[in-house]
């Protein structure tokens, strides 16, 4: 929207600070989408550190074969908590945080549709994070099932398992409330002159992600409730002793689980669809096909769940169906990758930190997508299921995909949030350290998996030692690099070069029409978009 004229943006509101409390109460009671977005982002970062520390415990133990630092039971608990915390505590809240901060500004709305509920959805998260972390210290320890919580183990474990189930309930409630808020905001609060098909891509990805969340989080809640009643109330959904079927849990879990991976990926796609056009100084290539690709990825994601279960003993016809359906997802995903590359084609590109992370995303997410395609082949997956190849695959899509996209988003929007430019040189250091150490940590895991090293195992055969050592060095490098990220963000919050309203030459969209830092209230009166084509 280069030529968009906006009225009503960024008015100075004299009563800004008249009606909200100060200090800690401001944060507890706030209903302001920017405050809540900020809290989501800090919560996410804190959980990222906790989950990261757990990953480093895992990697330290795997530095050598044999048992060095932790007991196998504790190792399993670290695996479980790391997975749950990273997925539900770090990545998902990060993107809800971006949605809170940016969507109202992108569509010219004064706030989220349900400001009070927004506060609740955030404040549900810390209790869930505390429950998960505290479950390490109860008798019997935390859940040791892996983040997938499969029975029979999940029916047998101690109170730590109940705490994990309760945490999943709370996290699910928070996500559903957050999604209802986001979907309603996007549907109802757009500036009157912004039709859906001219909406910024980040809003499109979140609209569809919101629907996905509303559809599948309740299914997960149902699945863990069934575990809970099997544990304590004598039902036998999954308890074989009472006629239940443990494999049924896997079907229900993955009906949630596969859409979940797109819940993580789609908003990441959205961010990249803003950053690449901004730094290639060209509008996104194929806007309409992008929207259809997102929608079809979301739809297909409901019908491929059993590719996680090729070895449960399903009939060949079932294996073939799930294999073909899964491979089908590569088509819309390919469309998206093509469009991003085509956006850069003949663009005048510059490589500031957000763009570097977006390109890192593009490159490494594509590798993760390819290994996913490899795994979708039943005959291959029978070999690779539950090996380190799978671990490598999902870290390429989740860390180099979702997390790198989140870094791109932070660097891209930090000037808008803080009013200061971050330290570009340190940002680039953060990028290069991250991408190099990430690959050192995770690329060798492909080889480990191909050679047959199982996942979720604290000890391994001697011949896997070298690659594991390389991987552990990379993991510690990656972990340490993130401290640099914290430093860069804190530095930008405390000062730095003043940021213009639109600090990126090629950026488009309403969020860049308000001053930096964005005033506490924006777009109290809807803006008027007078330019007919072009969108972020």
């Amino acid at each position: 929207m280069e030529a968009t004229h906006v009225h009503g943006a960024g008015h100075a509101h004299g009563d800004d600070h008249a009606h909200h409390p100060k200090g800690i109460m401001r944060w507890i009671t706030t209903t302001n989408h920017k405050d809540i977005g900020t809290m989501y982002l800090w919560f996410s970062f804190a959980m990222f550190m906790v989950g990261g520390a757990m990953a480093l415990i895992i990697r330290a133990e795997l530095f050598q074969p044999g048992l060095q630092y932790v007991e196998p039971e504790f190792f399993n608990q670290m695996i479980t908590l790391h997975g749950l915390i990273m997925v539900f505590g770090a990545i998902m809240p990060a993107f809800v945080g971006f949605a809170n901060w940016m969507i109202p500004m992108m569509i010219g709305a004064p706030d989220m549709a349900f400001a009070r509920m927004n506060n609740w959805s955030f404040w549900l998260l810390p209790p869930a994070g505390i429950l998960l972390t505290a479950s390490m210290f109860v008798p019997g320890g935390a859940a040791g099932t892996g983040w997938t919580l499969y029975p029979p183990l999940s029916i047998q474990m101690g109170i730590g398992m109940d705490m994990a189930i309760f945490a999943v309930h709370i996290l699910g409630m928070s996500s559903i409330m957050g999604s209802i808020n986001i979907v309603t905001t996007i549907l109802n609060l757009r500036a009157p002159t912004m039709p859906l098909m001219r909406m910024p891509m980040f809003c499109w990805t979140w609209l569809i992600t919101g629907y996905l969340l509303i559809a599948v989080m309740p299914v997960l809640a149902g699945a863990v409730t069934m575990i809970l009643t099997d544990r304590h109330f004598g039902t036998s959904f999954f308890n074989a002793a009472g006629g239940g079927d443990p494999v049924l849990f896997q079907h229900i879990f993955w009906f949630f689980g596969h859409p979940e991976v797109y819940i993580i990926a789609l908003p990441a796609f959205g961010v990249v669809s803003h950053v690449i056009p901004a730094f290639a100084r060209k509008p996104i290539f194929g806007y309409t096909s992008m929207v259809y690709a997102i929608a079809s990825i979301a739809l297909i994601s409901f019908i491929v769940w059993a590719h996680h279960m090729y070895v449960v003993g399903m009939p060949v016809a079932g294996q073939l169906y799930f294999m073909y359906a899964t491979i089908l997802i590569a088509v819309p995903t390919g469309v998206k990758v093509f469009n991003w590359v085509a956006t850069m084609w003949r663009g005048s590109m510059t490589f500031e930190t957000p763009m570097l992370f977006a390109l890192g995303f593009l490159f490494l997410f594509t590798i993760g997508g390819f290994t996913g395609l490899v795994l979708s082949n039943t005959a291959v997956d029978v070999q690779l299921q539950d090996t380190y190849y799978v671990v490598a695959h999902f870290h390429y899509v989740m860390v180099a995909g979702a997390l790198f996209s989140a870094f791109a988003a932070v660097y891209y929007w930090l000037p808008k949030w803080t009013g200061h430019m971050y330290d570009e040189k340190l940002g680039q250091w953060h990028f290069w350290l991250s991408i190099i150490s990430f690959n050192i940590a995770f690329f060798p895991q492909h080889f480990l998996g191909l050679a047959g090293m199982p996942r979720r195992i604290p000890d391994y055969a001697l011949q896997f030692t070298d690659f594991n050592q390389v991987s552990t060095y990379g993991a510690f490098g990656f972990g340490l690099s993130q401290l640099l990220f914290l430093y860069v963000v804190l530095k930008a919050i405390r000062g730095g070069e003043k940021a213009a309203a639109k600090p990126w030459e090629g950026a488009t969209g309403l969020e860049w029409t308000v001053p930096s830092p964005a005033p506490y209230h924006t777009f109290e009166d809807p803006p008027v978009l007078t330019e007919s084509k072009g969108h972020a």
């Binding site: 999604s179 979907v183 299914v219 149902g222």
Partner: protein, 188 residues
């Protein structure tokens, strides 16, 4: 925010909440749905028991006599089979025991080596469990009953009607300090 707008918002919220509620129910509905699906397609039927347990591979038309023999090679032990012979059908799982005792006043470790007569029976004599899989250490004056569990392969040539299983215990040198016998492992 105008009255109309918040009414609109509330309408969307109610609908989305209804979807969430329905999907929670759908999770539970999957339980009978999967059951029905498996019933109709005949896969994964957990309610009917499998065929009554029976060993379809026992060849009751033949009876083989297995004779047991025990020898010591320079060991101060007594070593005898619990039975001199048994009559078995090929394919049948058979349990027998050997008795061994150490007559010395210090621990001794031995290793039993099996042999078969006729020799070609060896390929058809499948031991599931045997004291010969590991070394055996007997404390001073200790006695023990040691099991052998085996199946005779129905592919045993027709002209073999008697098999002799013979064990010889050898002393294992230099192992006095070893702990008592570990859990035995097949495949030795």
């Amino acid at each position: 925010m105008s009255e109309k707008r918040s009414a609109d918002n509330r309408r969307v919220m109610v609908r989305l909440l209804a979807v969430a509620g329905l999907m929670f129910g759908f999770g539970y509905a999957m339980v009978p749905m999967y059951q029905k699906f498996c019933e109709v397609t005949g896969i994964n039927n957990l309610l009917n028991a499998d065929d009554p347990l029976r060993n379809t591979q026992v060849d009751t038309s033949r009876t083989i006599t297995v004779e047991f023999d025990a020898n010591l090679h320079g060991l101060p032990w007594s070593f005898k089979p619990g039975q001199t012979s048994v009559a078995v059908h090929p394919g049948e799982l058979v349990h027998v025991v050997y008795r061994v005792s150490n007559t010395r006043d210090h621990p001794v470790t031995g290793q039993a080596i099996p042999s078969y007569g006729p020799q070609l029976a060896a390929a058809h004599f499948r031991k599931m469990e045997c004291f010969c899989f590991t070394k055996q250490t007997l404390g001073a004056g200790e006695s023990r009953e040691m099991p052998v569990v085996f199946v005779i392969d129905p592919a045993l040539p027709k002209d073999v009607n008697t098999i002799t299983l013979s064990y010889t215990f050898f002393e294992v040198a230099g192992t006095l300090a070893e702990p008592a016998s570990k859990p035995s492992r097949p495949g030795a």
